[in-house]
Symmetry: C4
Subunit: 248 residues, 4 copies
């Protein structure tokens, strides 16, 4: 029965999607050397990539599955989890688990992705070197339209809107990031991502499609921002909107 | 019948080509996070990638198809379209549609590609930082030969010719770019591409082969130009032509 | 019988793993133009990629195999080897052989990888230009957790730990690196890698999984370090640990 | 019969190798937008990729084949060729043909590769900006060992040897490069490559293996050289050889 949870002929089943997504992320340089991870929530079931696996070689049978409701009702320390199924391969649960759960419980996200993208790390380093800033801000770039306006808000950001991604400081133990991630979610109710200084980024979305495309758009903006810095170009600008003359 | 429009065993059929091209473009970083797009015109039929799809996962059944003649005869606002077929997946039409149509109607193009290439965006930012220039100009690079001399002109540009790509300012709504794109086409009758500041580039050609190879050559030149800027190398130079001594 | 040593239907057999790993390394730019190599130890048997082969095209039948015990007991010069099996293709043994053996004998490694990664080379050049430093040092980057604490030590490095990789000078003949590699192993008993100035890096691990993921993490850090240098960011910083307020 | 020249089930047949190599080169960014090319000589038969084809889509049936002896005996202008077989697809012969033939006739090469690699172009631009230098020189980098010592010489370059690649100025018409390429071959009898300013590089070797691996090693060195320039590191250095203390 527990095997059933990760056995499906459907390539879009979470147990098949996580390995195919992680292989794609490995090729993008987001989950190098077993870093980073991915989790999908299907109603009450949460599928999580395990710790310490080569992401391009992951199999459905490597996944952990837990019940969100059971997890929340159980009066457990944040370090304790009750899993509906664990891999026989002996792989450990991901240290990202409480952070993924934060996105599912506080934002009702359907998918959460954690990358160690070098562009994300470099952006946090550039902000730190600036004045220890706690926000990545960029505006007037078309790709910003790739982000939703916010939790329970319809529509996407506009070209002239400023995308703001909070930055939290890294902790020695990944689970200890949870309270700071949750604080950032509270302070930035509309954000779909949180940068972790010198570590990487957490990105989520209503569903796999939105989490993945928002993660791609964000990595695009991080890389662009690093190249802009090399070329002495500012991340924030004032631009007069261009108004079409045609009326229709 | 509408299904027939996108059902063919021929890999070179537009309905099969657009998904395979978009998957290739995704790997090149041109259509990250559902950005960018592609359209092919087969005589009167126009095949268009939909909005908001993961480009590496697109299927023929996701495509929109419209009749160019019907579209032009219909007295419709530019925002209204009559489609011969729409995807059942509920995907929205691409906001790039009127821009693709401009290439088909004003240039009789057979294919138009829109990328969010970071190199294209960086080139527009470097020009803006320079003096708000409205043209990207580069000469004396072999790859310039990859471009036709112009609309209804035979032959390609030469090594010593200056490639000139107009830059238009971005608008809040992509459709609003149309009039500015069309103006740029009028002012630059021989260009095969228009850069959009802080957004990306539109590239077209007589057929898929020419649109795709011109788009590749242009992205090559944009990346080269950005690297040249990092290294303090000018984009425009005066070079004495080298004349062969042999007579034949 | 000698054929049997490299004939197996199991993709995780060393004779099948080395070619698939080397093809992956080629795509990562680690073993360009026949540079670099890889060796796996299975108990007493050592499988070694040959010299001068295109790494993305290697076949199991191209491999050399030797017995570690026989090799050690034989009173041979370091240049002489007794192979249990050699390729019929006439490919020469790898000049890296004595260096791979050093990792197997001095560290009981299960796998050793040698790359010519440009990031590794650039890091050694930056250190040389600094003050001829003999160590690459970086701290306070999450990816550092990708490394074990050291030979026969359990657990991994922590986020605040400083990763130290010794650098040895390159020699005209690769075999001559062996004594310097072994000296570095003696001086840095806990290191899993040694950089070779203007050449590349040797990385090992208890097994293939650990050697490969440590090599990935190290290349990630080398590339990050080069980008940090371009952006004027220091590799070593003093950071106050962030302590979680929650008690559990 | 002419079809037979390019019809073989053997993947290592030149007619099958050229398409598979060109697809690989396209993914390396060497033959973007139909630029660059490749030719293989099998005894008297010369197989040549045609002009204007998308390199990742090339087929064996697209190739031209000519007889080297017939070509040389025929008293033809360098622009005239007698082909044993031409593609039915109507693709034009490559303008690189006389340059490939120069490598086959003057060096008895078995394969010649022409890339538009951006790293090659940037290296020629950096030399031009320096003082219009006509040579790329680099030493004390391990990858230099990837090159043969020279035409009809045995062995490879050593770590401390200086790799010298001549640079010729680009001409308006690619065929016109031939006399300058041949002059460079005469002045640099041991070189396996010639850089073309603002254009790319020609690389050859005794056989496909050597041409391809030397081209990879050279591109590796060009990219490394560009990165070194960004980081203020010199291409030429004086280094005291490291001598092993062990005697064997």
């Amino acid at each position: 029965m527990s095997a059933d949870l990760v056995t499906s002929p459907d390539p879009s089943h979470p147990a098949n999607l996580i390995p195919s997504l992680c292989a794609k992320f490995w090729h993008l340089g987001w989950v190098t050397g077993t870093g980073g991870g991915c989790s999908i929530r299907d109603d009450d079931l949460v599928y999580i990539a395990p710790s310490g696996v080569q992401k391009e070689l992951m199999k459905a049978s490597d996944l952990y599955v837990l019940s969100l409701a059971a997890q929340q009702s159980a009066s457990l320390s944040r370090r304790q989890r009750v899993y509906l199924r664990a891999p026989e391969s002996g792989l450990k649960p991901s240290q990202c688990t409480p952070l993924f759960l934060a996105a599912f419980t506080k934002r009702r996200a359907g998918c959460c992705i954690h990358t160690h993208s070098q562009w994300a790390v470099l952006v946090t380093l550039l902000l730190e070197a600036g004045s220890g800033e706690k926000e990545f801000r960029i505006n007037n770039i078309e790709q910003i339209k790739g982000f939703g306006r916010g939790f329970e808000k319809s529509g996407n950001l506009g070209y002239h809107d400023t995308l703001v991604i909070p930055v939290i400081e890294n902790t020695a133990h990944e689970e200890d990031l949870t309270e700071f991630l949750e604080e950032a979610m509270d302070r930035y109710p509309d954000t779909y991502a949180v940068l972790v200084r010198r570590h990487g980024v957490y990105v989520w979305g209503e569903n796999v499609h939105k989490a993945k495309t928002q993660c791609e758009s964000l990595d695009y903006l991080f890389q662009l921002a690093v190249e802009m810095k090399k070329l002495g170009l500012p991340w924030i600008t004032q631009i007069e909107p261009v108004v079409p003359t045609r009326t229709e």
